[in-house]
């Protein structure tokens, strides 16, 4: 069960961030970057799919009684009551907000290119160290997904780091915008390293990642890039949290409204 929750935590991060980034498609600041950022969105989406498939397999293998206790969504409960198998789409489209375990950072709005870059940078740096460690997981499926994803994430981190520096050390306007974006998104970085029950249990079982250990590496990387970007970490140390436990910002509701519209309006159909 912890293994399932843990997998969903990772999958939901990938889906929600990928969704946010996909909103840029067709609206980027220059054609080359429109194409580049869409590649990243596709990477996140691909990772989400692999992880949801893994989660669905684990779910389908659970005893019937246990299945009923996991998700609140009525649509999903109806499927479970009929003893139907669930798949990647059921997990993405039929759970409600409180079943989603993504960190609040990933659901923050795009706002502008600067906010998008900062959000990605904080997350990519985390994701890089996270997947590096997850490659050692005793859950061989997770380890395999981590190995494949790490190649993509390495490139994401390079992309977002370079944009941090370019815009931080660009013009006076870009610097001001970037500092504002850092100030906003910073308050959502603490949650990345919070250990939920699933995190702790998976770590103990040799399948999860020690988030406290990667926090040091993350901090080092962030400091180095911010310094080169001539940006600073805000003085306000307050950190928001709740996403990993299913308590989300208002933003997630709107994301799910769009994301799940078709499956909710036209249930039980093949697309």
């Amino acid at each position: 069960m912890n293994q399932l929750t843990y997998t969903l935590q990772i999958a939901d991060n990938a889906l929600i961030l990928g969704h946010r980034i996909s909103e840029w498609c067709g609206h980027g600041p220059i054609l080359e970057q429109d194409i580049a950022i869409t590649n990243t969105s596709l990477d996140h989406l691909g990772q989400a799919r692999s992880l949801y498939q893994h989660a669905a397999d684990m779910f389908n293998a659970l005893p019937a009684e246990e299945k009923k206790t996991l998700f609140v969504s009525a649509a999903l409960q109806a499927k479970i009551a009929k003893d139907e198998k669930i798949d990647e789409d059921d997990l993405a489209y039929l759970r409600d907000g409180w079943d989603f375990r993504n960190v609040l950072l990933t659901e923050q709005p795009n706002k502008d290119w600067g906010y998008t870059v900062v959000r990605s940078f904080f997350y990519d740096a985390y994701n890089f160290y996270f997947y590096t460690e997850l490659q050692k997981s005793k859950d061989t499926v997770l380890a395999a997904i981590a190995e494949k994803s790490l190649k993509e994430v390495t490139y994401h981190l390079r992309w977002s780091s370079e944009w941090m520096i370019r815009l931080g050390d660009g013009t006076a306007e870009s610097k001001a915008r970037m500092q504002e974006a850092v100030n906003h998104n910073w308050a959502y970085t603490g949650e990345l390293f919070e250990m939920t029950t699933a995190d702790k249990e998976m770590l103990a079982a040799g399948m999860g990642v020690d988030l406290n250990a990667i926090k040091t590496q993350w901090q080092k990387r962030v400091d180095a890039v911010l310094e080169e970007a001539t940006l600073s970490i805000p003085a306000n140390a307050w950190m928001h949290s709740g996403g990993k436990e299913g308590r989300h910002s208002e933003h997630l509701g709107y994301i799910l409204t769009e994301l799940q519209f078709m499956q909710r309006a036209y249930p039980d159909m093949e697309w």
């Binding site: 067709g26 194409i35 789409d89 159909m269 093949e270 697309w271």
Partner: protein, 318 residues
């Protein structure tokens, strides 16, 4: 060489199907025609990202979402290849954008129609990309080298676009009643605009002849339109959808489908800016460009700063 002999040399090349390359001499009007055609084509690709882009966040399954995202991204790529081809003729991409944003340049009017349901993703892929492919395949042999090479790349990538669209339509047509209705509704709305994509009848477009002479264009509008109708009607039958044209009938003698009159009044109105989404599309493009200005400026400023720092270091070292 005199202009006269330049012209003869150019004509001889065209006649013997030798491609014209950027640094070759070419008549002024040939250059202008190409700039206009290629930039219109490029604008169509990037404006074309918008109607489908609408549904990226609402795609009904993760697989469909990934496919749609990749497809819309490809369109951006195609726009990029085409802008690059036009740039070899002595116009910059910024200038072309300026023409688009100020309404001087046009793009395919099909993208001024709204995407109302998911089935529109199917209809666009099947019909709009289908019509585009009819136009584009002959362009791979167009007389201007960079344009032809861009089109080869575009056509190679485009092949999955129509297939994914047809697959969406087929799935809907084989689905529940409401899905069938959705598919038929999309076909009803997109059929005629797709037919119009080929442009006015040959009789009403006296300049096709010059483009054909220069081998920029290889088939007339009516030839391509007929070809499109002939193949698409059969595809619609295959999935049990009805083409919304009561006059549609196989003509044994011609070996083609006869079809009903096209509403050119609607076509010209959409071209003029009275289509359902003209304003939204142009505004979306302008917004993207204007909101991105600080990003582009900052990247240039950073690049110059870095260059200066490097030079500074080198001078000090020396």
């Amino acid at each position: 060489m005199t202009v006269h002999s330049f012209q003869e040399h150019f004509d001889a090349k065209i006649d013997s199907e030798v491609m014209i390359e950027p640094r070759d001499w070419m008549p002024d009007d040939y250059r202008k025609t190409l700039i206009r055609q290629i930039s219109q084509h490029a604008h169509s690709e990037i404006v074309g990202m918008l109607p489908e882009g609408n549904w990226i966040t609402r795609a009904p399954s993760l697989r469909r979402k990934a496919v749609l995202l990749a497809k819309v991204q490809d369109e951006g790529g195609h726009g990029l290849y085409l802008y690059s081809a036009a740039e070899t003729l002595g116009i910059t991409r910024d200038e072309m954008y300026d023409q688009l944003h100020t309404g001087k340049a046009k793009y395919s009017s099909i993208f001024n129609y709204p995407t109302i349901t998911w089935a529109d993703m199917g209809a666009i892929g099947w019909l709009v990309d289908g019509a585009a492919i009819m136009n584009q395949v002959p362009l791979c042999r167009t007389s201007y080298g960079p344009y032809a090479r861009a089109m080869v790349r575009v056509c190679k990538e485009e092949s999955f676009h129509q297939r994914q669209g047809f697959e969406i339509m087929m799935t809907l047509a084989n689905g529940t009643d409401i899905q069938k209705k959705m598919a038929q509704d999309a076909l009803n709305r997109w059929w005629w605009p797709s037919i119009m994509m080929f442009g006015p009848n040959d009789a009403d477009s006296p300049h096709t002849a010059q483009s054909m002479r220069w081998r920029i264009k290889r088939f007339t509008n009516d030839e391509l339109r007929q070809k499109f109708i002939d193949v698409t009607v059969e595809q619609a039958k295959l999935i049990g959808l009805t083409v919304p044209d009561p006059d549609l009938k196989w003509n044994q003698e011609r070996g083609h489908y006869d079809f009903g009159p096209i509403n050119w009044d609607e076509f010209w109105n959409v071209v003029k800016g009275n289509g359902p989404c003209n304003k939204e599309r142009l505004e979306a493009r302008k917004n993207a460009w204007e909101n991105g200005a600080w990003v582009r400026d900052a990247a240039m400023a950073y690049s110059e700063k870095r260059k200066a720092r490097k030079e500074n270091k080198e001078t000090k070292a020396a």
